[in-house]
Structures are given as structure tokens and as C-alpha cells.
């Protein structure tokens, strides 16, 4: 017979209230982390969608990719050694559309690579978001520093950098506009260890993302909220069970007197915590999926199954810790105390 379950059944209201709070807190956590992830996609999907590997920029650039210039010899050498290595450059800038309206974009150019679109001179490939804003394939776009003009070749999904849509342009054109002979960055895919290249500083994908100024600020504040919520849910569990336990100290003493194992009392709390958490999480995961569907189109919301699973596990672990800490008082209960205290 499961007395953990019996207690929930008899005290539905109490457990319902706990469950609702856990549901709300976890739902909020899911939504905010979906938002964090969505924003990070919106901010830097160009980089986020690359496989994990290493980024290199000049040491002298002091972690600012804009100031980095990679020596052509080093670049050629690395690209030869590692067939998937790619050199690329990014510049924030403006394009004028057919009605001469300025559009903020991130110009990107690269050496031959499967992860970067290759375009001929006079061509341009744009992020899909610009199509939604009314641009079409075949449109002619201009740039102040470029004598000739670009023809839109196609649109690609989800390529953003620093919250701006990416515009892939030809390397020669890029050099002409920005008067730069050298590429800013090198990227080598693969988990193998960093190569020590003289004069270059290496970054993991995550480290490189954090060099984008807006990126780390955004992510840090959102992730902080997520962690606060998780800690709050753990404390809720702790406080709730602590108060329930205080009321039941007498009962626990009697149960110990008649021979109930302390470990069984803990199991009882864990069972209740698991039941409430799993039920609340199921509901909040469901609701967050629903939110995924009904969230406004242009709201950067992107919650992956992986994140959902990770957060769910964290909730379970935190709940477990909260309950266990608050249960430590049970260990100290003496059977006699309770008997002498009289009616419970």
C-alpha cells in the first residue's frame, strides 16, 4: 500500500496548490529559455548553425573580430592542412533596396565552404527575413561604396548575425567595399584539439559567440532568470515539505515508534515530490509546446526538445534536493517525544 499516494488523495488541495505553483514556475522557465534560445538564434544563427570546432582571430584584435586580419599565408596553410577549414569576414552595413530604402544587414564573405553561400560578383544571397519584408529574387540592390549593383539570387533560412539578416557577397566585391585584402576569421570544424597558430587566438563556438557584444549580455540576463526560477522551484519544494513535515512531526514519531524505517519516510516524500513534479512538468511541457504554436510569428521563441528535457531533469534534481534537505528534520525525530506530546 502506498501511503504517499494516500496522503495526496486525502489532501488534494494542498498538493494541487504546490503542483500549480511548480507548473507555473516551470512553464515560465521553459518560455524564458525558449526566448533566450530564440534570441540567440536571431542574434547569431550564422555562427550557431556551424558545427562545433575552433574559431581563430588575430591576437592583436583583442577578441574583436572586426579588428582581426588573418595573414594570407597562414590562412592558405591552414586551409590546405584541413580541408574543411574556412576563412570568412563579417561587416555590419547597409543595402539600399529598389525604392532606395536603407536596410541594415551583416555582409558576409568566405572562402569556398559548404557552410557559407558562395556568390558571384554582382550577386547577393539574403536571409529569408528580408523576403518577408518584401524583397524578391531578381531585385536590384545597391551599396554606397559599390559602383555596380547586386541582384538577389536567392534567400536562405535563418542566417542572422548581431540581430541583422546576413547578406552573402562575393569576396572581390567585399574587398572593394571594405578595402580589406585579408579575411578576419578562420574556422576549423571538428572536436580535435586547438592548433596553436602563432599570432592567432583560438575560440570555441561558445567563446566566439560571447565575443559578439549583444550576445553575451542578452544570454546572461535570460539565463540568470532561468536559474533563479529553478532555484525558486527547489525552495518551494523545500519550504512546502518543511511546513508539511513540521505539522507531521508527531506523526513521524509515532510511525517510528511502531517500527517504520526513516528511509521509508523519505521515500514517501520523494514519491510525492516525483508525482507532483512529473505531473506539473508534463503539463508545462505541453503548454510550452502549445505556446510554440501560438506565439506571434516575429517573436523569437525557439524551445528545443533537448533544452526541455535538460530543464525537466534539473527541476527533478532540484526538487529532490529541496525535499531531502527539508526532510532532514525527520531524521532527528525521537519516537518518545511524540508519544509524550499527546494527541496529534
Amino acid at each position: 500500500m502506498n501511503i504517499a499516494w494516500k496522503e495526496i488523495k486525502k489532501n488534494k488541495m494542498r498538493f494541487f496548490i504546490l503542483g500549480s505553483i511548480i507548473f507555473l514556475v516551470s512553464l515560465l522557465t521553459f518560455i524564458i529559455s525558449g526566448l533566450a534560445n530564440g534570441l540567440s538564434q536571431d542574434n547569431a544563427s550564422l555562427i550557431k548553425d556551424l558545427p562545433s570546432g575552433h574559431f581563430y582571430m588575430n591576437e592583436d584584435a583583442e577578441e574583436n573580430y572586426n579588428l582581426s586580419r588573418i595573414d594570407d599565408r597562414i590562412r592558405e596553410q591552414l586551409v590546405q592542412e584541413q580541408k574543411d577549414a574556412v576563412a570568412f569576414s563579417i561587416q555590419m552595413g547597409f543595402l539600399n533596396d529598389e525604392s532606395d530604402k536603407e536596410r541594415s544587414v551583416a555582409f558576409v564573405t568566405s572562402t569556398d565552404s559548404k557552410w557559407f553561400e558562395q556568390v558571384g560578383p554582382g550577386e547577393i544571397i539574403l536571409d529569408r527575413s528580408l523576403e518577408k519584408e518584401g524583397m524578391k529574387v531578381g531585385d536590384t540592390l545597391t551599396h554606397k561604396q559599390y559602383k555596380s549593383s547586386f541582384v538577389v539570387k536567392k534567400f536562405v533560412d535563418q542566417k542572422k548575425f548581431s540581430h541583422a539578416p546576413v547578406a552573402y557577397i562575393n569576396k572581390e566585391v567585399y574587398n572593394e567595399i571594405y578595402r580589406a585584402e585579408e579575411m578576419q576569421l578562420l574556422f576549423t570544424p571538428g572536436e580535435d584539439s586547438t592548433q596553436n597558430i602563432k599570432g592567432l587566438q583560438s575560440f570555441s563556438n561558445k567563446e566566439f559567440l560571447n565575443t559578439i557584444p549583444s550576445y553575451s549580455a542578452e544570454q546572461m540576463s535570460l539565463n540568470m532568470i532561468v536559474w533563479f526560477l529553478i532555484v525558486i522551484s527547489g525552495m518551494l519544494f523545500g519550504i512546502f515539505f518543511y511546513m508539511m513535515n513540521v505539522q507531521k512531526i508527531g506523526l513521524y514519531g509515532i510511525l517510528k515508534a511502531i517500527g517504520v524505517k526513516t528511509s521509508d519516510l523519505f521515500k514517501m516524500m520523494w514519491t510525492q515530490m516525483l508525482f507532483i513534479t512529473i505531473l506539473s512538468l508534463t503539463l508545462s511541457v505541453g503548454s510550452s509546446q502549445l505556446f510554440n504554436k501560438v506565439a506571434p510569428e516575429d517573436m523569437p521563441y525557439h524551445l528545443t526538445n533537448e533544452t526541455t528535457l535538460q530543464l525537466s531533469i534539473v527541476f527533478l534534481v532540484i526538487g529532490f534536493i529541496g525535499v531531502t534537505l527539508s526532510g532532514l528534520q525527520i531524521k532527528r525525530v525521537e519516537p518518545l517525544q511524540a508519544i509524550q506530546q499527546g494527541e496529534v
Binding site: 500500500m1 501511503i3 494516500k6 496522503e7 488523495k9 486525502k10 489532501n11 508527531g250 506523526l251 509515532i254 510511525l255 517510528k256 515508534a257 511502531i258 517500527g259 517504520v260 524505517k261 519516537p335 518518545l336 511524540a338 508519544i339 509524550q340 499527546g342 494527541e343 496529534v344
Partner: protein, 224 residues
């Protein structure tokens, strides 16, 4: 072989610098199928003796032999195991689990004592005991809807459902009126005989002594 023997039992409580000997060498043998009642003035050490005998607190010196095993030298876990399987408890108040029905209180006690039996048999046992304590009608009631006397009868049913060898009862009638007290005492007497229990109880009610087999008078930590 006597099933339960208390031998030269002593208990000293230390309150800061103050040491007070509450039990000053008590020897006592309990007989199977019989009720032994501890009587004596308040503060004479009756409850202390009973709870030490029941393995609810440690002795300072002396032995408690249950089936020739000395409880005072066992580990806490061993004592718990004996309490769960071989002892039954009734106190002044019923101390029932508030969120379990009468039936569930008994079923839970069977779980605690790790009695293994088929569901059907388990229900039979529960029904049998409930009939013995006269609560068949209240099988699915929660404690909050029971009267004081009914609660105490559930407590007694819980104390014997797992067929313990020894029943400990500390003033089981102290919170009841005279009529109900007599009902409870005759129930304890009845169960002690039919289940062949060894019963140790504390009472300060002279009227209840007609239901017991032996009376042990205590005064100031000694049997007199």
C-alpha cells in the same frame, strides 16, 4: 523459558550537571498470555520502564531479554525491526495516521511489519480484527470522523494486526470515560488471551486492575 525478562534495569537522566536515577534496578518477568500492570504514583518511573522495555529509549544499565536476546545490546536497526514485527503499541492517545482509513491503518501496519500474505488473506485478517474490536462498520472511515473510544480501538487493532508477541500499553484508558475504559480493558484482556500476547501496561486507575493478571507497584524507581 520466559518470553520477556527485565533484569536489574537502571536509567539515569542527565540534566546539565544534574544526574537523576529514575529506575534504580528493576527486575521483572512477564508471562505469556497474561497482562502485567505497572501502577504507582506519578513520576515513579512507570512510563520510563515501559518505553525502555519496548526499545523506545536506551537503558543506562541492566538487561531486557526478549526470547533470550538482550535488547539493550542491539543496534538501533535491530531494535526497530523487533518493534515492527514482534511488538505492538497502544498509548494514551490513538496516534492514528490522519490520511488513512481504518482499513488502511491496519494494512499499513502489515506493510511495516513486513508480513507477507495474499491480498485475500490480508483482507480476511483485517476484517477479523475489526470485528474483534467492534469496528466492522467503520472500516472506511477516516480518524477525524471517529470518537475517542473508536480511535483507541483502531489503535488496539493496529497494535495486534501483525500478530506481535508483546503488547505495550501506556495508560491506554487515561483519555476515556469510565464506561469506555472498561470496554478497552476488556478488549485488551480478550486479545491477550486469544492471541497469547505478553502484555505490559501502565495504569493509574484502580478500577482497571480487575482486568489484569499481575500488578507491579512502583515507587521512586523501584518495585515495592
Amino acid at each position: 523459558m520466559d518470553i520477556f525478562t527485565i533484569d536489574e534495569l537502571r536509567k539515569t537522566f542527565t540534566n546539565g550537571e544534574m544526574k537523576e536515577e529514575i529506575l534504580k534496578g528493576i527486575s521483572l518477568t512477564l508471562k505469556e498470555g497474561e497482562i502485567t500492570a505497572l501502577v504507582g504514583p506519578s513520576g515513579s518511573g512507570k512510563s520510563t520502564l515501559l518505553t525502555i522495555a519496548a526499545g523506545l529509549q536506551p537503558a543506562s544499565d541492566g538487561k531486557i531479554l526478549f526470547n533470550d536476546n538482550n535488547i539493550t545490546s542491539m543496534t538501533a536497526e535491530q531494535v526497530r525491526d523487533i518493534r515492527a514485527k514482534k511488538f505492538g503499541f497502544v498509548f494514551q492517545f490513538a496516534h492514528l495516521v490522519p490520511f488513512l482509513t481504518v482499513r488502511e491503518q491496519l494494512s499499513f501496519m502489515l506493510d511495516v511489519s513486513e508480513v507477507k500474505m495474499k491480498n485475500e488473506k490480508r483482507e480476511q485478517e483485517i476484517d477479523y480484527i475489526l470485528e474483534r474490536v467492534g469496528l466492522s462498520e467503520r472500516k472506511h472511515a477516516y480518524p477525524s470522523s471517529l470518537s475517542g473510544g473508536e480511535k483507541q480501538r483502531v489503535a488496539i487493532a493496529r497494535a495486534v494486526i501483525h500478530k506481535p508477541r508483546v503488547l505495550f500499553a501506556d495508560e491506554p484508558t487515561a483519555s476515556l470515560d469510565s464506561k469506555k475504559s472498561k470496554e478497552i480493558m476488556s478488549l485488551i484482556q480478550d486479545l491477550t488471551k486469544t492471541l497469547n500476547l505478553t502484555t505490559l501496561m501502565v495504569t493509574h486507575d484502580e478500577e482497571m486492575l480487575s482486568y489484569v493478571d499481575h500488578v507491579v507497584k512502583m515507587s521512586d524507581g523501584l518495585v515495592v
